[in-house]
């Protein structure tokens, strides 16, 4: 009986990991008005906010502020938009983006551990 419960808990834990890290999709992020500057903090392994919503064809500015000392946080990359930018520690870096097509554009650190999404509606 104990082993049955242990195994069931293990399987539930695996299911939770899959749901929490892979399947979960936040419903709404920070909505950016055209031309607005959104501040994105890079701290403790995450981008905050990690989901930013923008309108297709309208430019937005993302102001990255890196507070994370880890070398991995030293760059932000938008693979789908061909943007790569260095983020010096504690110094804001502004990226102006004008996404043409609707869709989800991920942004990440050099190693793809820090992740965020720019959702273009």
């Amino acid at each position: 009986m104990t082993m049955y419960l242990v195994n069931l808990s293990g399987l539930l834990l695996i299911g939770f990991i899959i749901w929490w890290f892979w399947l979960y999709r936040p419903k709404r992020g920070v909505v950016a008005d055209p031309g607005q500057v959104i501040e994105v903090r890079v701290k403790d392994g995450v981008y905050d906010p990690a989901l930013i919503e923008a309108t297709a064809g309208k430019g937005i500015s993302l102001r990255f502020i890196r507070e994370d000392e880890t070398a991995c946080a030293g760059q932000v990359i938008f693979p789908g938009l061909g943007i790569q930018k260095e983020l010096p520690l504690g110094r804001p870096v502004v990226l102006r983006i004008v996404p043409d097509k609707p869709g989800d554009y991920d942004f990440q650190c050099q190693m793809g551990m820090y992740r965020g999404t720019l959702r273009v509606n």
């Binding site: 695996i14 990991i17 890290f21 403790d44 392994g45 010096p88 870096v93 102006r96 190693m111 551990m113």
Partner: protein, 750 residues
Amino acid sequence: MPESTQVRLSIEGMRCAGCVSKVEAALASAPGVQQANVNLVDRTASVQGEAGLDEASLISAVQAAGYDASPVQGSENVDQSRHEEATHFKSLMLRFMVAGLVSLPLILDMFLHLLPELSEAPRVWLLVGGVTLATMVYAGRHFYVGAWRAFSHHSATMDTLIATGTGAAWLYSMLICLAPEIVPEMARHAYFDAALIIIALINLGQALEVRARGKTSEAIRRLIGLQASTARVVRDGQEIDVPLAEVAAGDVVRVRPGEKIPVDGEVLEGESTVDESMLTGEPMPVHKARGGSVVGGTINASGSFLYRATHVGADSVLAHIIEMVKNAQASKPRIGRIVDKVAGVFVPTVLILAVVTALIWLNFGPEPRISFALVAAMTVLIIACPCALGLATPISLVVGVGKAAEFGILIRKGEALERASKLSTVVLDKTGTVTEGRPVVTDIHGDNPDAILRLAAAVEAGSEHPLAAAIVARAADMPEGMKVPACQDFDSHAGQGVSGRVEGQAVLLGNAAFMADRGVPVEEGVLEQAGKLAEQAKTPMLLASDGRISGIIAVADPVKEDSKAAIARMQALGLKVVMLTGDNRQTAEAVATQVGITDFYADVMPQDKDAKVAELQAAGEVVGMVGDGINDAPALSRADVGFAIGAGTDVAIESADITLMRSSLDGVVTAIEISKATLRNIKQNLFGAFIYNTLGIPVAAGLLYPLMGLMLNPILAGAAMAASSVTVVSNANRLRLFSPSGQGSGGGTQ
């Protein structure tokens, strides 16, 4: 007078002078600002204000006015990033030492059994647990906070693995201190030592990685360090030293012997030789005189001169080079993209593997099952190293692209480097690539060579043909007193030659057909001589005065001194070398033979060069095209890798993937060698990281236990994990030792 500070910002989005005043007004209204000056040319703002002027609030003020601003990247940032790196290193080392020292008694206890058994004195062990927790919070706080923040954002990082592994070890150990009866007696073992040592080792690993990473960006630091800090500017007739940031385009700057040239410009007065090797890799100093261009960051050797600043700040050549190198270092070759996909799912996968491991041990393992399950799951979490995997590509790219810049080779993107390593054929444009691109007089045959040159120069003075320029230039080198006379009735006959009247004589200069056309008899011997010159890739021109042949003057575009050796190096790398030229077959063949090329195409019109590249590509070749980047832009774009050669300091050649500042084919071979070395290094790193993880994780899970009775100690797993990313960075650092083949002892054997 109160202390004041100066902040420099790079402003984006300015188009006109109206923008300048808007940005200046916005900055002036920001708190603490005394004065704000905006420079439209280099798009920077220089803000003077009270001590402690807040850069972020200045940036916000600019943004509120509808523009973007960011801090200027300059030498001060190099010092700052060095300082940050040193602080980070120190704090990691301190954490390592504190965790290491606290764990020392526990390590000694493993061998000397200084502490009582857990079952005998649970309170002692509770105290040990308390001290361990305090140490974990101090030395490993960043792991736990990072893991929690990542978790709350549905993300998992390396911190997640470390925090879960060490956290589980501590929790389990506390549990058996508080309620030992819940686990079988033989499983009552505390893992406080493991938690502490793992945290100590991972901090050490990260500290070493910070150190090694600092070395990888040495190249960019060297480039940034080339900037001078001040310039001697002539203002109101006085020479005064001003900070570099205050030099504007149009300023007149004085440079004295041995000084660094502060900004780009054009020489107005005086002459000197300038060492440009730090930018172009060209070892010979370059002579500069009135009208010559100088580049900021290079060093004036002997003379003193005045020059007018043309490009400053972000518009300067050095700034462009730095920007290009940085962009290439940040770009990702295809090989790295596959890894990104793996890295993105890596951590949750390891978490699942740890749960599966624990379940397998709990179900099928020997007693004490719970201990085995805990140790195995903890070891799986600790040994897995996504960092090594994620670092493998970018870190080598940073070193490789930086190394190339040291040789005056600017790589536009990581992908270009990847493709350059796979080239099978190199196509060389003849003129300006294999040859100097500037025709010179090579031979003068006749009874009086000086007189022949004098007359030839006189008739050619009015011609715009490149061959004429060679003759006029040679005449200009004639000893004084032999001035070139004037020419009357000059006429140019397309494809044949030129004619005119010099000092009363009717002079003709052109080919044999031209002479025949004009009824000038040409002896057999002269024709034979001309034929021989043509065979040597020279253009022979016959000179006739008053209807009689008086000599032959030959002009040729000489082969560059190092072309032959560089082509031999390409062939030694297994590359097929092809030459294209618009010249006739005879000239092409002569040049090809001189430099050891067997494959060449003559009479190729400029617009047909890219078709030739496409033809080679269709035949399955991976083609690198080398040209000057101006006449052969379509072919450079068409090729898998376009090399623009001899760009000098005009670095922004759009059509080229790789720009060589020196006008030497040697750079092409070095670029290919660096690309191969970098790709090899990336592959070694990736292979190492994949093998490490794919072997390490099953061993950690206890795969060897049923076979050999071996179980990996979690402490060893911590050491292995710390070592793995340090190894990747150190391997990338080996690329710094690269030296091109045939130049030094390294032999490019990375």
